[in-house]
């Protein structure tokens, strides 16, 4: 019942304060849920595109990897077997995480997993000074780029119970609590 406490006002508060609180957190939770839908949609679509395009491979992205993980990227790309596994993991990972986020199923682990995935994207090609992107990316970035932002947004979703309303998880939580 913890989630209800966050989002629904207690009757012991004064009416004004209650209204303010209610509006504020109403907006917050609403936006958190929306954020979850949006990021879920984004990751799921990315995954679908790769599923439909059997020729896709992370090879291009990994080849262009620079910075701390360049060595790991090299190891992956030099080994066809490992590359295939990575490709599959990425593709289906995106699908699974995206689906989970949109439906709100195992939201917390999914959000953490998504944050990790995006964090990896970030680390394999961080926009630091001295690193020239091998594949031109739209926009200008310095240290902070969209992957990092999205990863942190997922962390926010992971730790926000409010994000788990309008979610299939709610059914199980309810049951468990009852």
């Amino acid at each position: 019942m913890i989630w209800t406490k966050c989002c629904w006002p207690t009757l012991s508060e004064s009416p004004d304060k209650v209204n303010l609180q209610m509006d504020n957190s109403r907006w917050q939770s609403g936006l958190l849920v929306t954020l979850r839908f949006l990021i879920g949609w984004h990751l799921l679509y990315e995954g679908i595109v790769k599923v439909l395009n059997p020729g896709w491979s992370a090879y291009a992205f990994l080849e262009g990897s620079q910075g701390f993980f360049a060595g790991v990227a090299d190891w992956i790309t030099s080994n066809q077997g490992i590359l295939s596994v990575v490709d599959a993991l990425n593709t289906w990972g995106l699908v699974a995480i995206g689906l989970a986020l949109v439906l709100g199923l195992f939201t917390r682990p999914a959000a953490f997993a998504g944050a990790t995935l995006l964090g990896l994207y970030y680390l394999f090609n961080p926009p630091f000074i001295g690193i020239v992107p091998t594949v031109p990316m739209e926009g200008s970035y310095l240290i902070v780029n969209k992957n990092l932002i999205e990863a942190v947004a997922l962390l926010l979703i992971a730790v926000s119970p409010a994000a788990r309303s309008f979610a299939v998880d709610a059914l199980f939580v309810n049951r468990k609590d009852q």
Partner: protein, 540 residues
């Protein structure tokens, strides 16, 4: 071979290309191709200062008032129709067809453009054509209350008439010389379609006649009126491109009509066509409809790719670079696509070399001199190739639109390129007079001519017909005096060059020009005019 530079082209936002239609006479000037940065306006200043190009205004036209000039048209075929239209005389048939086209397609402005045309203050009082149907069409369409038009059976009659002030000649090539000479000697003004002449000897005679006549001679290279050419002239004056070593002009056409396979009129017969008149000085052959309507396919009447299309391209470049007659010409080619009995080539390469430093074209800062103008043509493919003027510091793409590119290895712009102000693969300057309008090309041939600046141009952002402008300039010179932009000197250069190209093709030899003697270097054992006029593809 070295690996290409490893840096990646920056993704940059394209500069403004669209024109400011409200700026009079300038059309659309674009400062494109600059890398995205906050210092956009700074860079524009730098570019402007670095290039200092002015999109020029066209030459002013003198007064057109006074009594109407009485014009006679000799040769009322395809081109003749067009010329009369630009004088303000469109046939009923054309008006009706355009009206129907406009109602089917609201974007079709051809009728509106015509009606919008300024009055040229001429009367079309005479028509001379060997084909009765054409002459009669002119009489029917152009005989009105204000305009009385008469048919003259022969061109001599028309030229001798006191009712004619000026003639427009749009006949097959082999008549151009004789008619123009006769008209000038009779003191008439002459607008002569290209190519100026059909053989070498009459080129000199025509020059004599023009110099001694009070008649104004204008050669029909109307693309000189195109806005982008005026701007191009400024680019050359300012030596933006550095030493220009190679100019490439092309013809790519793929339709049967593009290969001169014009329709044959159903009413054509020895009764309706004065065959003798048509043949003139060409070798007499029995009546032949193919020859009459598709005369361009034979050396006897036409001049093939070199006279018909190269002449236009040569003049376009000549008016920008002023290079004159080449020192030598080498042609090659063959009949590879339209093997239908013609004897003019349908694939042709003509290399016009300006190699003698004494005669080098005017190149600013020119310690280094020399240039080749290369004409490459095929009538078996319609893929457009741009006209390119390639200089050491930059390249100019010159069609109806003008684009300037700096060369990655330019010495003059090296600093600016290093600083990122100029990016070699993007135009640093773009002049697109059509930017405001939507141009619907109605056919591949139309697109071909439009790209050469031969179909329309823009004044005050308004689309106008360069043929109209060219005729207007001629008429203005008639009324007010002055030297026409494409007169005997320009025509002489074009004619000689075209003949050199044709000769080189037919003989398989290099043809040289002697500028001191002002004549073609003779080739022992050959009468050059005989070769040119021989109605065969090649001479042994």
């Amino acid at each position: 071979m070295t690996d290409k530079d490893k840096t990646i082209p920056k993704l940059s936002r394209r500069g403004l290309l669209r024109g400011l239609g409200s700026v009079p006479l300038l059309g659309a000037v674009g400062w494109a191709g600059m890398a995205a940065s906050d210092k956009f306006s700074d860079k524009r200043e730098t570019t402007r200062n670095a290039l200092n190009i002015n999109a020029s205004a066209p030459p002013a036209v003198g007064s057109m008032s006074g009594d109407p000039i009485r014009v006679g048209i000799i040769g009322f075929g395809g081109r003749g129709h067009r010329l009369c239209m630009s004088l303000g005389f469109a046939t009923d048939d054309w008006l009706e067809r355009m009206s129907r086209a406009a109602s089917n397609n609201p974007d079709d402005n051809r009728l509106a453009d015509y009606l919008d045309q300024d009055d040229q203050n001429v009367r079309l009082v005479g028509v001379c054509d060997a084909f009765d149907v054409r002459a009669e069409e002119a009489l029917e369409s152009f005989n009105t209350e204000t305009n009385k038009i008469k048919r003259y059976r022969t061109y001599e009659d028309m030229i001798a008439s006191s009712e004619i002030d000026a003639v427009v000649i749009a006949t097959p090539d082999h008549w151009h010389g004789p008619m123009a000479i006769a008209a000038l000697e009779a003191g008439k003004h002459v607008y002569l379609e290209k190519p100026m002449t059909h053989n070498i000897e009459e080129t000199y005679r025509l020059r004599e006649a023009a110099r001694n006549s009070k008649g104004v001679l204008m050669i029909g290279h109307h693309q000189r009126q195109t806005q982008s050419f005026l701007t191009a002239q400024d680019v050359i004056r300012k030596n933006v491109l550095g030493h220009i070593s190679l100019v490439q002009v092309n013809t790519n056409r793929n339709k049967d009509t593009g290969a001169w396979q014009y329709p044959i009129h159903e009413k054509a017969s020895p009764d309706t066509i004065d065959w003798q008149q048509f043949i003139g000085s060409a070798p007499m052959v029995p009546f032949n409809k193919e020859h009459f309507f598709r005369w361009r396919k034979w050396w006897a009447y036409g001049s093939g790719l070199s006279g018909d299309l190269l002449s236009h391209d040569y003049d376009r470049i000549n008016c920008v670079l002023n290079m004159g007659i080449p020192d030598s010409v080498m042609s090659a080619g063959g009949i590879y696509t339209h093997r239908d009995g013609r004897n003019v080539p349908d694939v042709m390469q003509v290399s016009m070399d300006y190699s003698d430093p004494r005669n080098a074209p005017v190149q600013n800062g020119g310690i280094k001199q020399g240039m080749t103008v290369l004409y490459s043509a095929t009538l078996g493919n319609g893929h457009t190739r741009p006209t390119l003027l390639m200089g050491h510091d930059g390249t100019m793409e010159l069609d109806n639109r003008l684009r300037l590119f700096t060369d990655a290895d330019s010495t003059k712009f090296a600093e600016l390129i290093k600083a990122g102000t100029f990016e070699p693969d993007k135009p640093v300057f773009e002049y697109d007079p059509a930017a405001e309008g939507v141009d619907a090309f109605t056919s591949a041939t139309t697109a071909y001519f439009a790209n050469k600046g031969l179909l329309w141009t823009y004044r005050d952002g308004k689309r106008v017909d360069p043929t109209f402008l060219h005729l207007r300039e001629w008429l203005s010179c008639i009324r007010n005096g002055g030297k026409p932009s494409c007169g005997i000197d320009e025509g002489f250069e074009e004619a000689i060059t075209a003949h050199m190209a044709g000769l080189s093709y037919k003989m398989g030899k290099r043809i040289d020009w002697d500028p001191t003697m002002e004549e073609l270097v003779p080739i022992p054992g050959y009468d050059l005019d005989e070769v040119l006029l021989a109605n065969v593809e090649r001479v042994a």
